[in-house]
Symmetry: C2
Subunit: 350 residues, 2 copies
């Protein structure tokens, strides 16, 4: 939706000459069509249309990436950014136990946005969606008075019996996470303090730029029927365990010394002058899975996931009654109230 | 999706103190719940979920409003803006013959965004959705380094037999529009040249701020089974007739002297020093319906729509073979090539 009158009065706000909305939509349609869209109606009408499958739930999620908040061009190339915009949304569909299907993209482009960059973003996004079986089927292009904005709405489906909720954790459950934590936060520190951040290919920088949604792991976990509650760790473990506990009306105790942290993240944590566990606890954008299972189910689940998918699981805490609140067992054994997130982090850790 | 590390380093970018993502989501959830959401899963998990109805197509559309491009706070209050964000999306679902069902909202808020303003936008949006039978069921909140951004994704449904496409117009069809054109463009000029634009309650200013999606009209037209092609006029008649013709591989001749223009729009056109028909032809955001029907069906359709819904329809042109291209019959009788839109408008009309 664009106001032509606004466009006229602010012609300079619209992308570079030759970049009209229609040609941009046409270019996006071509990139998307190359990935094999077979929808009843895709890009090019007032709305896209498809026939939902019978017998399953439809899922919808949306996540936006905004220049200057979520990324800087100094440390992320267009294709990688497009891939990330897709991946973070796929992660949300995965965290419901579903598979991603159809995406709608809203772009806001600053004056002078280069064709190559725009198409790079779209190409990366379409390629990443395709990797997980999803397609770009519609969207909206806009001028922006300043920052780039990439807002994706992703629809997915899940058999009702495989739906993974945030609620459902029970006192006594173990809290597990896949993979390792804190990498993206370490990577953000690293790219911000690097002289050539675009060329950085450290583990931490890759975790920041190229998150890998745990789609196969979540699907597999959903099919075991053993998971009481699950979500993806997008805002940091401290924030997300709080969400899981609020949804399930339970408390939790996390073990700081147990949090899985990669070697490269430990290296960066030293430069950040923070214990590795605080980076793991409060860094965001890890897109790992946090889930609650019965203690007796946990060992077999971990062993099988490792064997089938090559993904490690770590016990990071346990679910307790709501009355006990949210606590953190420090590596030296002391128990403290769980820090609330980055805002409180400053109070707790200076 | 928010990067906590980014949030920490750019704490000033996040809304006013006390405004955390969670409390904002909670407030949005409350506003939305008050409108009676009954989804399988609404706001508060990784994705929303619902059971699609069998035997019908699902429609999805998204349209964003961006501060400085689509509106200025100087001339639009928060509730009205929220209503508009809903209305422009409802218009797209209507233009497919569907009814709106479920919406996802992505907000990007600049530093210091006021609670009252944010909740005003959300309240207006939820109220407007409710008016048309739809609900807010999910979304994403973000910091913005500058402008406000309100991006809505709206899902709807339509029985396949009632689907209204852009394609399907045939040579010989009449081109009809509902209501009148150019009001929003005239309103934009008016608010931009007013000393107290927020208080302006002229017809043109209202057309700009408070578009009324033609949902009932589109539904009724869809059910007649007489419409060959239809879309909503969001970017201006000149642009949108081009879309209809490209989709249907036909040409068209529009009659400048026939375009329906309200008295207030004519008044503003004089101030704009443009013939009223150029404002009607090239102004955007009218959200009227443009549709193609057989000449013999048109009179009865217009009469019945007027009688049932109180909405006038006007003959504005005819569909011709593609080889004849897009032309405009000027009021004085001369035929010219149809101006392509605002960009070309400057060349054509100085």
């Amino acid at each position: 939706m664009k106001h032509p009158a606004a466009r006229r009065e602010q012609a300079c706000l619209f992308p570079t000459s030759g970049w009209r909305e229609f040609s941009l939509i046409e270019a996006i349609r071509k990139i998307s069509a190359a990935s094999g869209s077979k929808d009843r109606l895709g890009i090019g009408d007032d709305a896209s249309a498809h026939c939902p499958e019978p017998g399953c739930l439809e899922l919808v999620t949306c996540d936006a990436l905004i220049e200057g908040i979520h990324w800087e061009w100094a440390w992320c190339d267009p294709e990688t950014l497009g891939r990330k915009a897709a991946a973070v949304n796929v992660s949300d569909i995965a965290a419901m136990g579903g598979v991603p299907r159809r995406a709608h993209l809203v772009l806001a482009l600053p004056p002078g946005a280069k064709e190559k960059r725009v198409l790079g973003v779209v190409s990366g996004l379409v390629a990443e969606l395709k990797k997980y079986g999803a397609r770009l089927v519609g969207g909206d292009t806009n001028a922006s008075p300043g920052p780039w904005m990439i807002s994706l709405t992703l629809q997915g489906t899940v058999a009702e019996k495989h739906l993974l909720r945030r609620s459902g954790a029970r006192a006594g459950d173990w809290l597990m996470v896949t993979g390792d934590l804190g990498g993206a936060a370490a990577g953000l520190y690293e790219v911000k303090h690097s002289r050539s951040p675009l060329r950085l290919i450290s583990y931490a920088a890759q975790r920041l730029r190229s998150p890998i949604p745990r789609l196969a792991e979540a699907r597999w976990l959903a099919q075991t029927g053993r998971v009481h509650a699950l979500l993806d760790v997008s805002d940091g473990l401290a924030s997300d365990v709080r969400r899981l506990c609020e949804a399930g009306r339970v408390g939790a105790c996390l073990y700081a010394g147990h949090l899985p942290v990669a070697m490269d993240t430990r290296r960066m944590a030293k430069k950040m002058k923070q214990p590795a566990w605080t980076v793991a606890l409060q860094g965001g954008e890890d897109y790992e899975l946090l889930f609650a299972v019965k203690p007796q189910d946990a060992p077999a689940l971990c062993r099988k996931m490792q064997a089938r998918l090559g993904t490690a699981c770590t016990l990071v805490g346990e679910v307790v009654p709501a009355s006990q609140g949210l606590t953190l067992a420090l590596p030296e054994g002391k128990m403290i109230k769980l820090p609330a997130g980055w805002e409180h982090n400053r109070e707790v850790h200076g």
